[in-house]
Structures are given as structure tokens and as C-alpha cells.
């Protein structure tokens, strides 16, 4: 019998086929040309605009919006991409409500910012859908750079270096490039294979070689890379996950949210993906929300996102929290997991309610759970790395590490928010610094 949302346990195919397509369609459908013009007309073309200041990649937002408004979306795209080569993905996944759009003066004026993210997507899609790559390489310098990690930081770094004439080899442990863009972001934020399309488009610059299935520490060593290349950029992200150190934390049905999301992103048919009837996600960040929402979209009946502090402390933005709530996810706060119960497979999870200062209240609660997704933070894997700071690679200036000739950026580097856009900025800036050092 075909499972339904009410079927207990972990099961695939809880929904009708049509429901999956609808559930995982574009969260923010693209603006059509008229909508884009209407939205662009609202921009005030501020002086020294606050939205630019708020953008980690310093995109000249008023200029690109004016370029859209005057009927030149490809020029707008070039303005965006010259600062942020992954402007297409950032337009989809940036928490704009806490970055550019929060800073928009129209947010202050009327609580309705200019739709900067959607306009950025309009422009970048317009250019990329024509297959146009607006940048070209400088004369080849003969210098070589190894980039570890084909995620936003690594690809951003690689593109900038290639554009400046250097030859770049990008190593990645996974079979596909893109990093979290390909494996770690909710499907409804980047549907229809956009992550791979963007990588393909980015590589049109030339001078970049991709090497898959090459993990630092397993297939590669930093020492070897340092010997073989003129410079090395580390942008491999955070490969490890924090364990759930509670009684029963290893029961069947317990898995890492990042793996759950990666499987979902790689699935050709959402109906093949097993999901619990009662899913509990532990964590308060974007990954937790992405996992919780997508569990619901896969047909889970009850999804609870359990966080140990209050909503105001969650790393997930208010928009993300509201999105989760609107999809039917219950957000449970001030709850710390005590134990997982069940005979082999998890059946229930027990929490203790805690105060704001994390002191226990002694009050506990058990809720049904046949799937528990851990989203309690990721860690940097590997040894023989440059010096660390707070578990990540310590950097100074534009991503310089403690090792000569080795730069780092993105999630694996200390400092900065763990955002795609931040990773892109760090990769770009490290590339400029590498370029300066290689051509000094």
C-alpha cells in the first residue's frame, strides 16, 4: 500500500507525484520584465547607498537597478558579476532581508524595501540564459594556483585568478562542483539545476581545471600542493558535523541534516526519498530550517524544529523562521535534547526546557520522532592545516593564513558570516591578494 503522510515510521512516496513538483518549485518565482521595471523604478539611487555597504561583495546596487530600469539588464548583470561572480546564486540564497534589503532606505521609509535580490536574479538570469560570459582572461601569466574546494569561495577565487591570467586547478572531494550551492541549499531556492548551470557558465572564463574526488587529507596533501603550485587557496568548507551527544543519539533514524539535504538535492525523484511521519530537527540555523521545511515538503506529517534558545537567538533569519512556520513547521524553543527513546529505531525524543541562560528547568517533554535530523553545527576536517582560530583556519587581511603561499576563505576560514555571499567575497579578495603576491 502506498504510504501517506499518516503512515508511521520512515517512508518514501508519502505524497502524490504532482505534489512534489509543486512543493519544490521556485520559492520566489522570477520577475517578468514588467515586474522588474516596476520594482526597479522604486530605487531612489541613493548616494553612497546603504544597500551597497550592507552587501558583503559591495555590488553597486543603485547602478545595476538603474541599468535594469533603463532597459539594459545585461549591463546590470555585468555590474553585479564584476563584484560577485556568483551573483545569480546569491540573488537566490542571500538573506537579503538582513543584508541589502534591510539597509534599503525604503525599508525605513515604508517597510517595503526595493526587491534587490529578485532584481539581481532578473539581471543575472537575463545574461546567463543567453550563455553570455562577459569577462575575458588577461594574458596568461604562467603562474599556477591550486584551489581546494569547488564551493562559492573556491570558485569565486578561481574565476578571479583565471581572469587575471593565472592557471587554476580546483580540487573537490565531491563528484560535482558547487559545494553547498550544489549539496547544501534547500532545493526550492535553486531549482532546475541552477547551481550546475552557474558553475558551467563561470568556467567559460577558461583557465580553470576541475579535479573531482580529490579530498584534502585523503587524496591530496597541502605540502604537495604547495610544492606543485605557486599559491594555494583553501576553500573546502566544513566537512565534519557535530555529534548529538545524548543517550540514544546513535539510534536508527538519526542523521545529519547536511546529508539529508545533500541526498535531497541529488535526488532525481523526490518521491524516492524516505522521510519520517514525525520529524524533529535539532538546531536553529539555516541548515536546520532548510531540513525542517523540506521534510515537511516531502510529506512528513509533523515537523518540529527544536532549538535550545529563544527565536531571537536563532541564526536563521526571521524570514526563514516565518517561511518554516508558513510551511507548517513547529518551532520549539528553549528545548535541549536529553535522550532518544526507541527499540533500535528512534520513536521519541525527550527534551528538557531551559531558561534563557541555559540553566535547566527540570521540566521535560517527550515528543514522537521517527526521524531526527542533527543541524547543530559543522566542523573543519583535516590536519596539517595552517593555524586555527576557534576551530577554523585563522586568517589575516585578505585570507592570508599562517603558511606562506596559502590563503583561505569561506566557511573553513575564521571570521565572517557563514553565507554564500561572504564566501564569494572572501574568495575574490584572496584572489586579488594572491595576484598581487604572484606579480610582485
Amino acid at each position: 500500500m502506498k504510504p501517506s503522510p499518516f503512515s508511521p515510521g520512515v517512508a518514501a512516496g508519502r505524497l502524490d507525484d504532482g505534489a512534489y513538483a509543486e512543493n519544490f518549485s521556485d520559492l520566489h518565482p522570477a520577475l517578468d520584465p514588467h515586474e522588474a521595471l516596476v520594482a526597479a523604478d522604486r530605487c531612489y539611487f541613493c548616494h553612497d547607498a546603504p544597500c551597497v555597504t550592507a552587501c558583503p561583495t559591495d555590488i553597486d546596487i543603485p547602478l545595476f537597478i538603474r541599468q535594469i530600469a533603463t532597459g539594459t539588464p545585461d549591463a546590470a548583470a555585468k555590474t553585479i558579476l564584476s563584484q560577485n561572480i556568483m551573483g545569480g546564486m546569491c540573488a537566490r540564497v542571500c538573506p537579503t532581508e538582513t543584508l541589502c534589503e534591510e539597509a534599503c532606505v525604503r525599508e525605513l521609509a515604508e517597510g517595503k524595501p526595493v526587491k534587490i535580490g529578485q532584481l539581481q536574479r532578473y539581471a543575472t538570469d537575463h545574461l546567463q540564459e543567453q550563455g553570455i560570459h562577459p569577462f575575458s582572461r588577461a594574458a596568461v601569466t604562467g603562474k599556477t594556483v591550486a584551489v581546494v574546494g569547488a564551493g562559492p569561495a573556491g570558485l569565486s577565487c578561481a574565476h578571479r585568478l583565471a581572469m587575471l591570467g593565472h592557471d587554476v586547478t580546483v580540487y573537490d572531494a565531491k563528484p560535482k562542483p558547487g559545494g553547498l550551492n550544489e549539496y547544501g541549499i534547500a532545493a526550492y531556492k535553486t531549482p532546475e539545476g541552477f547551481a550546475q548551470a552557474e558553475v558551467d557558465w563561470l568556467l567559460k572564463i577558461g583557465g580553470i581545471t576541475l579535479a573531482h574526488g580529490q579530498a584534502l587529507g585523503a587524496d591530496l596533501t597541502l605540502e604537495q600542493l604547495k610544492r606543485d603550485f605557486d599559491a594555494v587557496f583553501l576553500g573546502m568548507g566544513l566537512g565534519g558535523v557535530n555529534a548529538l551527544a545524548v543517550e540514544g543519539g546513535d539510534k536508527d533514524g538519526v542523521l545529519d541534516a547536511v546529508d539529508f539535504i545533500a541526498d535531497l538535492r541529488q535526488a532525481s525523484d523526490m518521491g524516492d526519498l524516505p522521510v519520517g511521519r514525525d520529524v524533529v530537527v535539532i538546531g536553529g540555523g539555516m541548515t536546520a530550517v532548510d531540513a525542517a521545511v523540506q521534510s515537511k515538503l516531502l510529506g512528513a506529517l509533523n515537523v518540529t524544529l527544536a532549538y535550545r534558545r529563544g527565536r531571537d537567538r536563532m541564526n536563521a533569519s526571521v524570514f526563514e523562521q516565518d517561511l518554516a512556520a508558513s510551511k507548517g513547521v513547529r518551532i520549539m524553543t528553549h528545548a535541549v535534547p536529553l535522550a532518544l527513546h526507541g527499540n533500535g529505531a528512534v520513536r521519541e525524543i525527550e527534551f528538557e526546557y531551559v531558561n534563557d541562560d541555559m540553566t535547566g528547568t527540570g521540566e521535560t517533554v517527550r515528543i514522537p520522532a521517527d526521524q531526527v535530523l542533527r543541524a547543530i553545527g559543522q566542523t573543519l576536517d583535516g590536519d596539517a592545516l595552517p593555524d586555527l582560530e576557534g576551530g577554523k583556519i585563522a586568517v589575516t587581511g585578505a585570507g592570508r593564513t599562517s603558511m606562506d603561499g596559502v590563503w583561505a576563505g569561506g566557511d573553513c576560514a575564521a571570521g565572517g558570516d557563514d553565507l554564500t555571499v561572504t564566501a564569494v567575497a572572501e574568495g575574490r579578495d584572496a584572489a586579488m591578494d594572491i595576484h598581487a603576491s604572484l606579480t610582485a
Binding site: L37, D41, Y44, C46, L108
Partner: protein
Amino acid sequence: MANLQSDFVGIKSPNPFWLASAPPTDKEYNVRRAFEAGWGGVVWKTLGSEGPPVVNVNGPRYGAIYGADRRLLGLNNIELITDRDLYTNLEEIKRVKADYPDRAVIVSIMVPCEEEAWKAILPLVEDTGADGIELNFGCPHGMSERGMGSAVGQVPEYIEMVTRWCKQYYSKPVIVKLTPNITDIRKPAAAAKAGGADAVSLINTINSITSVNLDTMSPEPSIDGRGSHGGYCGPAVKPIAMSMVSEIARNPETHGLPISGIGGVTTWRDAAEFITLGCGNVQVCTAAMTYGFKVVQEMISGLSDWMDEKGHASIADFKGAAVPNVTDWQYLNLNYVAKAKINQDLCISCGRCFAACEDTSHQAISMSEDRVFEVIDEECVACNLCVNVCPVENCITMEAMAPGDTDPRTGKVVEPDYANWTTHPNNPAATAAE
């Protein structure tokens, strides 16, 4: 509620909002819809001489200029006078007027500049029972190439001559519609008055090319790859129209000549402004063409509410009220000193005032690290550009300095008395006069 009743050179209408002679008033069907919607009057689309009607182009007749969100700011057109049979129009006018006796029905006329032509058509128009005629001396396109429309309006002697014929062969009010495509609007107005016109109406449309198609290199609207200048109208032309209206209203030679105001009237406020500059009523076209006839309802309620608020019982109460305040630059009070003031509670920190002042004006606005913008009184000349570019209404205001205070820019005490350029020491003419 205020009385919006309009009496324009003896022509009565329930409100001062007339539809101008234009496409919306070309047919009985449209005019009936207009009256049902509440318009006080219509000036029927211009009639030509008996005979084969004019022909229009069969491609686009209109071009447009847009503001944000495709808000239509300016429209141009290359449509000619009515292309329907004269007698069809006359019969329709007669029927409509009979059915709407309380509304104003004016007939616009454009026939060749020959006495016989006017002598022929005027009795036919008289027979319709319409309330008056408007002489179309304004259309800048097509008909002007045939010696009519603005070709007449640009020659004051012709205006006077034709007006005289009309007064001779027609018993009811004669309104002369003026073209703005002329150097000094006072001259044709004076000519109309000299010819015995009961009133002038202005402005007709302005020569214009709204855009050029950069692929085909054709002006828009494009007829098979070519374009011709059209007549420009809509909100964009209102400032030009109001200036011309005011010149006629304050010119001693034409002061008191009734004026029907035309040119970009889109809201009740526009209408009120035209009336304060001396107009007895207003004529509307583009607003109706953009939004339909229903817009008149906003015009009626808005004007009525404003009149109630200001205590004006009738249109006459404020007609021309702003005319005495329209003067020449040389009579402006040079002892009046103002400074821009930014309301920090309303400021949204867009910085447009700063960019405008810093780049293009007097470097009189400061910007702090945390985006607080303040006026530097030592530099501010009160040019008003910051007020104009600020997206928030009333966030930046011009505040007059009190007499006795010292202007930090000039170091001079603000004088209490009025003094203008004619007596200013820097004026060589003033010195010579002494």
C-alpha cells in the same frame, strides 16, 4: 458643499471641468458617456468644412513619455480634426445638447482662412443649439501644413480677422484656442481680444517628438518607418500652460479676458491652480484618455472639498487669486532669506540631497559617517534643489529667516523691508537712474 457651478462667458455648466476638443469628444457615443460620468461640458472635436472629410493615418497616432511604473506623463498625437462627415457631427451635437441642456456643448471649428468658409459653417453650427464655438488655431500637425490650425494661431493678424468673422456670423460666445508654438503668447491673445473674442483657451498641444526608435531610426509614433512631429500634452506640459495662462492674465492689455485653461490638468489640484491663475474653467483631455471619464469624479470631489476647507463658496471666489503674485524676476524681494532645513525624524538617509548639493550646487549639506545629513547654513543659498530631489514629502523645507537675524552665509543682517533688483546697488540700470 461648495458650489461648483460654472458660468464661463455666459455658458453654464454644473462644474468647471470640460473635456477638451480631442479624440474623446469625436462622437455622440463618447460624449454621452462623458456626461453620464459627470463632465460639466465638452468641446466637440474640431469640425472642418463641408466636403470629403480629412483622412487620418492608419498607423499609430500617439506617442508617450513615461514616469516610474509606466505612469503616463506626456502624450503626443498626430490625429487630425474629425474625420467624420460634417452633417453626422452636427446632427449628433444637436441631439446631445437637447438631451443634456444643463451641460456645456461647445463646437470646435477649423476651416480655411477665408471668410466664405466661416460664413458657410457658422450657421450650421448655430443650428445645433450648442452653447458656443471654439476656434481651433492651435493644432500643430497636419492641418497646419494646409494653412489652418497653428498656422493661423501663429499670425496674430489672422486670429483677429477670423475672430471678427465669427463674431459677425455667429451669435453665441466665441472662444479662441491658442497655440503655444509661438514666442510670446500675449500677442495672439491680444489679437483675439481685438477681434472681439469672448475668451481664449490655452494651451493647444506643443510640437514634439516623444522618442526615436533606435533600431529603425524612426521617430515615434512611427508610420511605416517615418514619423512627424505631433502635439504634446499631458501632465508634462502643465507648467508651460500655466505660465502662458498667467502671462495673459497679468498682461494689462489682456487682463480680464476670460480664459479656459488647458494643458495637463490631471487632478482637482491642477484645476484649482489654473483657476487661481485666472482661468474661468479648465479643459481636460489626456487624463481622460489615460484613465477614462471616471476621473472627473475625483476632480469634482477634490475641488469641492478644498473649496469647503478654504471657505470658497464658488469658483469666482478664488479665480485669479494667484495672478497678483505672478511678477517679473526684477520685482522679487532680494531681502527675503531662507535656509533649507532637514527634518531628521522624516529623513530616510537616501543622501540624494547631499549628492545634488555636493555635486551640482553649493556644498551646503554635510554627511556624517552614520548618514546623518544636515544643512550648512553658511553655504546654503536656499536654492530648493534638495527639497525637489528629496523623495520624502516635507522632509526638507525652506525656512525664512527672521528680519534682524544674521545670514551666516553673507554675514549680513536680514532686512525687514522689501527691496528688489530695480534698486539694487549692483544693478547698473538702478545706478544710472539715480
